[in-house]
């Protein structure tokens, strides 16, 4: 089977699968929100709920269509979605598309930078640990990786703020820019980004470090590595060109599967660092029972996970000829 054919088949299968998946996820979310004990109208009114007559509350409920049967609410929402209308966020008083649009970029910036940092640091540290297996460097790297795997993200975030912002005063504790500045400048954002990105990358990279270490250790024992060494190749070439390369294949699938964890990590990091991204907004939408926004964010997260897996599998198809030859997709 050709490469293009294999890819096309993979994508077609996934797309056929994604439509029912999204239907199930969104329907389940509607049912859950309906079962939630929180009243969206009270959350919308906030403290004014106490001075608003029941009659006005009912009027708002009716305006939102919350008095309709669940199935009707769901179908209306679905119909609007198909025409590209995500509705209006009740807690932000703005179209959902706008609320998400202006925040998605900031989340992508932080998670994107964190992925790059995590890959770079994970590969380098994992390979060093494997190459110098048993040395103090190996023990330090694996020890820290185990510790970070066990520590919650928000806790690492708070510790980082305490060390780098409160005690040392090197980096800002939160926000996108300094409190006094009116414009968003690249320099300020870069400075404010350091802690969230570092914390997110640190908390998510431990599995990567440990995985790379294990695979490289395994690969170093393989015949082709011994052969390469026997041919007198430089040690760096043996390590990077032979051992690491063959150790990396399963890693692609693993990376795709790990994307959901990155999303939850982003939620916590954005809350701790008051980073104005979509993940933090999800928390606010959930607390305010802001249904249209919550639905759109759920949709977005589902699509992100499906896409992550698809990209990982596609990369696998490209990287490993066996999957094509054997028709595994």
């Amino acid at each position: 089977m050709s490469l293009a054919g294999a890819l096309a088949r993979l994508v077609a299968w996934r797309l056929a699968f994604v439509v029912p998946l999204l239907l199930v996820v969104t329907a389940a979310m509607f049912a859950l929100a309906k079962a939630s004990p929180f009243d969206p109208v009270r959350q919308y009114l906030g403290e004014r709920a106490l001075v608003t007559s029941p009659e006005i509350r009912e009027q708002i409920r009716a305006n939102w269509g919350l008095d309709r049967p669940l199935a009707e609410q769901y179908l209306t929402w679905l119909g609007n979605l198909l025409t590209g209308d995500l509705g209006e966020s009740r807690s932000f008083h703005r179209p959902v598309a706008e609320v998400i649009g202006e925040r998605l970029g900031w989340t992508m910036l932080v998670t994107g930078a964190a992925i790059v940092l995590m890959l770079a640091a994970g590969l380098v540290l994992g390979t060093i640990a494997a190459y110098r297996q048993g040395s103090w460097a190996d023990r330090l790297i694996t020890g820290v990786a185990y510790a970070s795997e066990a520590a919650p993200v928000f806790w690492i975030g708070l510790i980082a703020i305490w060390i780098f912002s409160v005690t040392l005063g090197w980096l800002p504790a939160g926000g996108l820019t300094d409190a006094g500045s009116a414009t968003v400048t690249v320099g300020e954002v870069a400075r404010h980004m350091i802690l969230p990105v570092a914390v997110l990358a640190f908390s998510q990279s431990s599995w990567l470090v440990l995985f790379v270490r294990e695979s490289v250790i395994g690969a170093l024992r393989e015949d082709f590595v011994i052969g390469a060494r026997a041919r007198g190749l430089r040690e760096r070439t043996v390590l990077a060109g032979h051992a690491l390369r063959s150790a990396l294949l399963p890693f692609l699938t693993l990376l795709g599967a790990r994307i959901p964890e990155l999303v939850t990590g982003a939620i916590l990091v954005e809350s701790v660092f008051s980073w104005p991204g979509v993940a933090g907004t999800a928390v606010r939408a959930a607390l305010a029972v802001d249904f249209p926004l919550l639905a759109a964010l759920t949709l977005l997260a589902t699509v992100a996970v499906v896409l992550g897996n698809l990209v990982a599998d596609a990369a696998y198809v490209i990287a490993d000829p066996r999957t094509r030859v054997l028709g595994v997709s």
């Binding site: 709920a49 932000f92 400048t185």
Partner: protein
């Protein structure tokens, strides 16, 4: 490898170039206020600062420090004439985009609030208005459904330009995040979750502000706000009393404790056997140690409360008062006289009914929780068993007719506000209005007369009697009035503390920040 390095150097250079300040104004011109929560909206129609606390918008009238009304967009404060009120507009006022303000904008603003389709959170406050008309560009006429004396107090609502909002879905209008008003500050930017930046409106009808750039930074965590205040990142902030203590006696900053009409009290269900007995309610009122509540729970930032109208406002009846320290002997005497005698476990009993009731409080509110626990321990000492229960609001609402609740209300502006709904029998059991089913025909009568009477002296007499009757029947045990605590850096003239409402983000002490001047 070389290419990678070149790229890295180029990126670093780019970052450095961009971080150079872009025509930033001098430090002194910027004033940063740390607020505890982000605005839900900046649209007055949807509920932004209806009591006139927005730096972006003006109402028809505004308030002086003694809470008396003074003209703002209106040329003078008009008389209420039965069911019509006519405002004449100030000439030559323009919105920040340069378009002139006309009566069409005023009518549009009020009618938009009243339109049920707009889901305005403040619509209930304007229920007395039938419609608002603009017969000519400088005249606005309010038509009321019934004579309603406090209507002028509702004329502080910020006026929005009709041109930018007409025919749009207000829930999704771009205006909500890029507002255009007539106020002393114009909108520059809003970084969601972070801050709002405003700049002085140099052509403000009331004179250009001295503070040229105003930043409203959102820092929800109290400790973070205190830390950033101490670090000099913020120029002013609002803090809970205990977090503000570190700024006391510190050079360069001033701590302001401003009284408010915001009270906390125990609402009693009137139709239940224990709390329905006036002797129990009066005894509790006497047994509560309000001075301990103010000193320990509020760290001194509060006043003891004895009625629904705040001391310090013109409407307060000075006869409605009491002792901040408890008088347990008098409380016990009242209970004994009413037939509540101590049972075997120390809890009083009357006709086989133990003096026991549940006192609910919203679980997430630590102040109300501490107050509930204090009430329970004070009650125990006179033989009443009060059982505090922390619940979510959604669980509290259906139980309000049968269990007592720590509630908070209070408006300094007019005695009709909230009190009508809380004590008029027609509102009994209507959601959070009169949840205890209080029912007194004389109080109904007074409340009806009060809102229909225009004469100030007569109104004062009516509400004095209203306060006395509430005090005598004790449908609530009022506990404390809160003080709002502000920390402000630098020496300023023009800061005018006034009795504040519950909401005090940019209202409160910052409501006239455009008039603050640096002390020489």
């Amino acid at each position: 490898m070389k290419r990678v390095w070149a790229l890295a150097v180029a990126v670093l250079g780019l970052l450095a170039a961009c971080s150079a300040p872009v025509d930033a104004p001098a430090e002194d011109d910027t004033f940063v206020i740390g607020l505890s929560s982000e605005f839900d909206t900046l649209n007055p129609v949807l509920g932004h600062a209806p009591d006139g606390g927005s730096p972006l918008f003006d109402g028809l009238v505004s308030r002086a420090a003694d809470l008396s009304l003074r003209p703002a967009l209106a040329r003078e404060v008009p008389e209420v004439n039965g069911t019509t009120v006519t405002f004449r507009l100030r000439e030559g006022v323009t919105f920040h985009d340069g378009t002139p303000l006309t009566s069409e904008d005023v009518a549009f603003t009020y009618n938009a609030v009243l339109d049920p389709a707009n889901n305005s959170t403040i619509r209930g406050d304007y229920a007395a208005i039938e419609k608002v008309e603009a017969p000519d560009p400088q005249t606005v006429v309010f038509h009321l459904k019934h004579p309603y004396a406090p209507i002028l107090q509702r004329a502080t609502l910020g006026i929005v330009p009709k041109r930018l909002l007409e025919g749009q879905r207000l829930d999704a209008a771009a205006f909500n995040t890029r507002p255009v008003g007539t106020g002393p500050y114009r909108f520059v930017s809003w970084t969601p979750g972070d801050k709002i930046v405003l700049e002085a409106n140099e052509s403000y009808w009331g004179g250009a502000p001295e503070i040229k750039r105003l930043v409203l930074a959102f820092v929800p965590d109290d400790n973070a706000r205190a830390t950033r205040m101490a670090a000099g990142e913020l120029d002013a902030t609002v803090l809970p009393p205990k977090a503000a203590a570190r700024f006391e006696n510190q050079g360069g900053v001033t701590v302001h404790r401003v009284p408010s009409a915001d009270y906390r009290g125990v609402m009693f269900p009137m139709k239940r056997p224990v709390t329905g007995d006036a002797a129990i309610r009066k005894a509790l009122n006497l047994a509560i140690d309000r001075s301990a509540m103010v000193n320990t729970i509020l760290a001194g930032a509060g006043d003891p409360a004895f009625g629904p109208i705040a001391p310090g406002t013109t409407w307060h009846n000075p006869a409605v008062t009491g002792s901040a320290t408890p008088d347990r002997e008098a409380a016990v005497r009242i209970l004994e006289e009413a037939g509540w005698t101590p049972g075997p476990d120390g809890i009083r009993v009357k006709d086989g009914t133990p003096a026991r009731f549940t006192l609910m409080y919203p679980a997430g509110d630590s102040l109300r929780k501490e107050l509930a626990l204090a009430v329970a321990s004070d009650a125990k000492r006179i033989g009443i068993d009060v059982r505090p229960a922390g619940l979510d609001w959604d669980a509290i609402e259906p139980r309000m007719a049968k269990d007592a609740l720590i509630m908070g209300y209070g408006s300094p502006y007019d005695p009709d506000f909230v009190n009508y709904e809380l004590f008029h029998s027609s509102y009994a059991g209507q959601g959070f209005f009169n949840p205890g089913h209080f029912d007194d025909p004389r109080v109904d009568e007074l409340l009806e007369q009060g809102r229909a009477t225009a004469d100030e002296k007569e109104r004062k007499r009516i509400y004095d009697e209203f306060q006395q009757r509430i005090h005598d029947q004790a449908p609530w045990a009022y506990l404390v009035y809160l003080k709002h605590v502000y920390v402000i850096r630098g020496e300023w003239t023009g800061i005018e503390p006034a009795v504040e409402a519950h909401e005090h983000a940019t209202g409160g002490l910052f409501r006239n920040i455009h008039q603050w001047k640096r002390a020489a």
